[in-house]
Assembly symmetry: C2
Homo-oligomer: 484 residues x 2
Amino acid sequence: MASKNGVEWSIRVDDGSSVVLEPEHKYRMMRIWDGLKGLVVRFFTRVWMFFKKAWDLGVDDPRKFFHCLKVGVALMVVSLFYYMRPLYDGVGGSAIWAVMTVVVVFEYTVGGTLYKCLNRICATFLAGFLALGVHWIASHSGHRFEPYIMGLSLFILASATTFSRFIPVVKARYDYGCTIFILTYSLVSVSGYRVDDLLHVAHERLSTIIIGTCLCIITSMVVFPVWAGLELHLLIPRNMDKLAKSLDCCVADYFGHIDEESKKKLQGYKCVLNAKASEESMANVARWEPAHGRFNFRHPWKNYLKVGASSRSCAYCIETLTSCLDSKDKVPEAIKNHLGSACMNLSSSSSNVMGELANTVNTMTRSAKIDMAVEDMKNAVKELQNDLKTLPDLMIQPHDKEKDELVPSELTVVPLMDVIPVVSFASLLIETASRIEENLVKAVEELAESAQFKQPEDEKKPKQNSNTAKIVSDEGNATALERV
Amino acid sequence: MASKNGVEWSIRVDDGSSVVLEPEHKYRMMRIWDGLKGLVVRFFTRVWMFFKKAWDLGVDDPRKFFHCLKVGVALMVVSLFYYMRPLYDGVGGSAIWAVMTVVVVFEYTVGGTLYKCLNRICATFLAGFLALGVHWIASHSGHRFEPYIMGLSLFILASATTFSRFIPVVKARYDYGCTIFILTYSLVSVSGYRVDDLLHVAHERLSTIIIGTCLCIITSMVVFPVWAGLELHLLIPRNMDKLAKSLDCCVADYFGHIDEESKKKLQGYKCVLNAKASEESMANVARWEPAHGRFNFRHPWKNYLKVGASSRSCAYCIETLTSCLDSKDKVPEAIKNHLGSACMNLSSSSSNVMGELANTVNTMTRSAKIDMAVEDMKNAVKELQNDLKTLPDLMIQPHDKEKDELVPSELTVVPLMDVIPVVSFASLLIETASRIEENLVKAVEELAESAQFKQPEDEKKPKQNSNTAKIVSDEGNATALERV
């Protein structure tokens, strides 16, 4: 209170003078000092954490580091055009456009870079051509009308192009091109009013942009390329594997106990729920990529999106399934034991199917075992349904058997309410299985059809010696083990 | 076969010469002509459909048209700087940068425009300042080292900035700034090697960019502004309403029949499932917007995202619920009748809660009725649970009662398997209700807390005359009716 009201505490000393006590003041200073120190420490901790996170990000995927180095190198190379006089004189003052192109166009994936490069070149060419044409018309219609014609054409073209960006297809494929189109048109038409040798300007701009884009395309395709198509191709089966693990862990958690690590894996389905945007952007840029690795130019990337959507529909089910875990303790042990094995069986056969599908996509080879795996899953569904059918017998169950085995056992009725959670868990599990069968299997089948996946080894060479067949089946086991 | 092998059919005429028959050829020509006609018609139909779709897009939301006109106007105005000699001489040759800024920076929403403008200005300023500093150091360390120092600094800064774009926070808030930073740094440092009056260049560039950005900001904020924050604020309750309708229609469909229009509404939850990306991008740009309408500068947009995520978690449940519709015909009528009213009751009280929450967000006024609505929902859950408890009595039900009422009725046991679908439907419904209560209500409560929503009318003025109170309750009824 003293410090707040500005009251001073003093002691009257023997000689009559008073000594002012300043502990408050000192404390305040110290408190401010502590506060400052805390602030500084907190600031540096935050900065440190930020850098640590960034570093982890790079260590997690070193290609991100490489990408940064690539951008640096490309920029260095292109600025050479400016430093070296002979090149500079050749290309002229607009060498700056080459630098700009590199900065703006260089993306993480090859597809992204190609998308921007091609959009930039085409849009620049088209807009330059149009601007020259309109400029020619304008200059032939008299000096008075020239600015009006140029201004009006600029207004109309800019508005129309801006509107076209709202159309989903244009947005996905030519968004960048639209920006560049307006940009180039306005630059050429505006400077056309001043600069006389317009053709020269247009030619210069186009050639510098081509230098920049070529450099970008070469760097991104040759030095540690990151193909968007390949990324998408790897993401889809990885997500399916995550779903399979989630399902397994969820059922294992319901009918028993799982360790901490499995609890983490249980959350895997969340990645699938949130993957839509990244899948779509990858597919959008993958279409621009040339043939690479095992993929042709017109690889059916759209089908990957369908597989992704089907995975997501399974993920919705699994998400609902996990919320059943809250009520697992209320279910009587007897009922759990009765349904447990069938549920575990269904989950493992479902995740087996998902793993097989993931493997199919991954290796781009049709699976010889997928039909059997689906059949297994169907049988597991039937088994679980049978177990559900015999549930009423169990609901009227012997009571206190251990206490007195000779006395005829009393019968207790397990109320339906206690059974409902596990019954709905089981029917959600069946629903998941049916979604896998109806959506996922079909989507992968469609993908295999349109991407012309290879036939499985043992179908192509049915009369092989048993030795090779053994190796194949061993491999199958290995992946199955990895999945478990 | 004839045309394929190139064989000619001819008739020997009386005078010995032969006349070649050309019906194949004629037919082929006609077929080609038909094919071409078909192609052209199809092409124009596609073009026509494309334009029709585009037009519908604009009619659907006329603000998109306005946006295009705004861009056109802004570009026209900025190109005036170039056409008018006095202004041109004032700003100099780099007036072109103002044009460029307008093209690149103008976005659909005010937030998007501000985000780009502020990023552009700050990044340009920072990079220009840095480039000047490095240039000064380089020029003082001798002519020989100058290009090396400049090149190396360019390499390091470009790589580091590119890397920082991988960090999610930087990506969300400063992505555009990073691009502009690299761009400006490389432009200034590269041209610094040639142009002597660097300061002049930097100053010119900055001033033109400021002209461009100011024009953009003013145009986007004054002429028919589209606020990202407002869009987000309207989207969230709209999605909740869609969810409520979906839930109602789904339950109504299960226990009865619905018309075509309701079937469309049943699909509403899909919008919610796919809304994540757009919600996030809106919240990202909304943070840049100044106070507008009922929103302050630091309006808690993040809380809207939480409400959105909670809506989505309900949507997952409803998605699973809709897949139960396939099995609705297998459930015995008696069981349906038994549970129907409780389920309908629960769905209508759940959708009532969602509607109340949507209304709360929409009007930014805490609802006086929300507690009662939640209580209603809880009671409906209890009612449904009670009905589920009495289900076993029904499962052993009188058979063929109508045929002979005097004879003691035979008893039939409805097998548990027939009941399972409806039981799991009911428990999914209960799960949906619990998600609404635990996630959605809490998220909206949190939002109301942090955004300081108004207190409800009847709490603020408890001693009003009954007349006003009646109007308030009438309004409540009206919105409830609209929801239904």
